[in-house]
Subunit: 218 residues, 3 copies
């Protein structure tokens, strides 16, 4: 389950050491972590990371298979969480130690910046391959953070981008050695921590107003 | 006139061996080709190419000069065809063996990917030079597929991009030797053929919803 | 105060030799210069430059501090001027000899192209650092001219981009030696002068229709 720690101005949200799929309990825990980050005073920033070879593989398809009647509420919760990250009044950096797939890849894009392990692991939107189209909100999120060419290729082909490829495509901002992923993300976050506050929240909310409206179903 | 062939999973639409301007009969033939592609079962992809030194020079200005009263219907037909390519539930690759101008350049952009001859021929939007502004739908199409800087330069200056320049600008995805244009496009299309289907169509329709609405005059 | 000169087809608007902040009188003078450019016949283009180490530092915060009650009208005037540059039916090139900050950086983005001094001076949006969020119109302007990654970094971190960095980020189109800034901008402008006219104005107005509506408060 997700855990939250703080080191000086930097909160570190660890998504877990499994595939870190979006089980309802997992979503609750992440949401409570964001509550804590939002309530803290002073300079602050957030690094979201994970332990092992997955950042996150996205939706919990096993749970959904057993709880199909709860799909609408579940989808709304996921989209609201993505919106919350995207507009967070706190600088955010995703540290990607491994596979970052589907809604996990979208969660990474909802951060201000991304640091990915260079030598192993993929960032991938496999939706076209598994027959699940993006919701309008998810589509808007992805398209708002990538160049048109990269969004098109990622969304229509399911291409798997390794770290160096993801860097060249502008999907991530840094691709570094495995043992430097968290440190690089933390260093960036610490530098940006003084920017936390309502101005930052307003800037992000206005930049992504149409995306946020689509994610929130408005 | 346009012809359609099939090689395994890949349909090949040849736009002709002239300037391949959008005469009403030509538009009808292309539309019927898309009907055939859409009706086929199983994995499939589409390569659109041409014979000779033109991919297409766009609108048939000679025909329009003689049929000015039919402009509104003609423009709607052209825009609907661009919309149909853009949202096609089939992977599409444009093979550009030569000049790709004006609405011909837009038709290329409505494909998923583009392969251009490296050493000769230009991709160009000459509208500003000939005094014909882009319709809102055409403008939206171009802007949805290019970075802001490239869209601005292409649309406001009429710059002619050779293959290598078009590759650097992200207008095309590959620039290759003349005799490799069709083969490269076909190889990419064959790889993507398993993605054909309703999921792909929905993904594209949602990605480009505002563009499609503008092209369809809605 | 701003001055306007003409050299053959190229008008040169010099924003001044101070920080060139947007005082109401300065805004009036720039607006009158645009009137003159618009009224001229034949091929024409506009280079906007400045003398010394500032292109412009943006809003006149001293004046605003003493005239807080006039903020709404002042903000509308600034936004209308940005919209006017963005949609001008004349090719425009900004020559950046030095610091280009905040609304000055937005003014530069409202030109068709930008030439920046390579070795000194910064292009910067410090709004997040000084606690002033972008208006929706300003946000839309910046986002319409930069890639998503660059817009996000520039707007959420206040990063200062030197000439070479601004070139790599696509914020400017050329970074050259100090004594080549004006000459490069003038050369580009002269080349584009034949494109001046209503077609160009319509092309830009349609490309940036949502941005213009947001800047004009509609």
């Amino acid at each position: 389950m997700p855990t939250l720690d703080r080191h000086d101005d930097v909160f570190v949200l660890n998504l877990g050491d499994t595939e870190n799929r979006f089980h309802p309990d997992w979503l609750d825990a992440v949401g409570r972590a964001l509550d804590q980050v939002e309530q803290a005073d002073g300079p602050k920033a957030l690094v979201t990371t994970a332990t092992g070879k997955f950042f996150s593989n996205g939706l919990d398809l096993d749970w959904l298979g057993a709880n199909g009647d709860r799909l609408p509420g579940y989808a709304a919760t996921v989209q609201n969480l993505l919106a919350r990250f995207l507009a967070l009044a706190v600088p955010t950096v995703a540290a990607l130690p491994g596979h970052t797939f589907a809604a996990g890849a979208m969660l990474a894009l909802a951060h201000d910046f991304r640091v990915m392990r260079a030598d192993r692991g993929f960032w991938c939107l496999p939706e076209v391959n598994i027959g699940i189209p993006f919701t309008p909100g998810m589509s808007a999120l992805i398209q708002s953070r990538l160049t048109p060419q990269v969004a098109h290729e990622a969304m229509t082909t399911g291409r798997r981008y390794g770290g160096a490829e993801a860097l060249r495509a502008g999907i991530v901002d840094h691709a570094v050695a495995e043992d430097a992923v968290d440190a690089t993300a933390t260093r960036i976050a610490a530098t940006l921590a003084p920017n936390a506050g309502q101005t930052l929240g307003t800037i992000k909310s206005r930049m992504y107003a149409p995306v946020l409206a689509a994610l929130r179903g408005k």
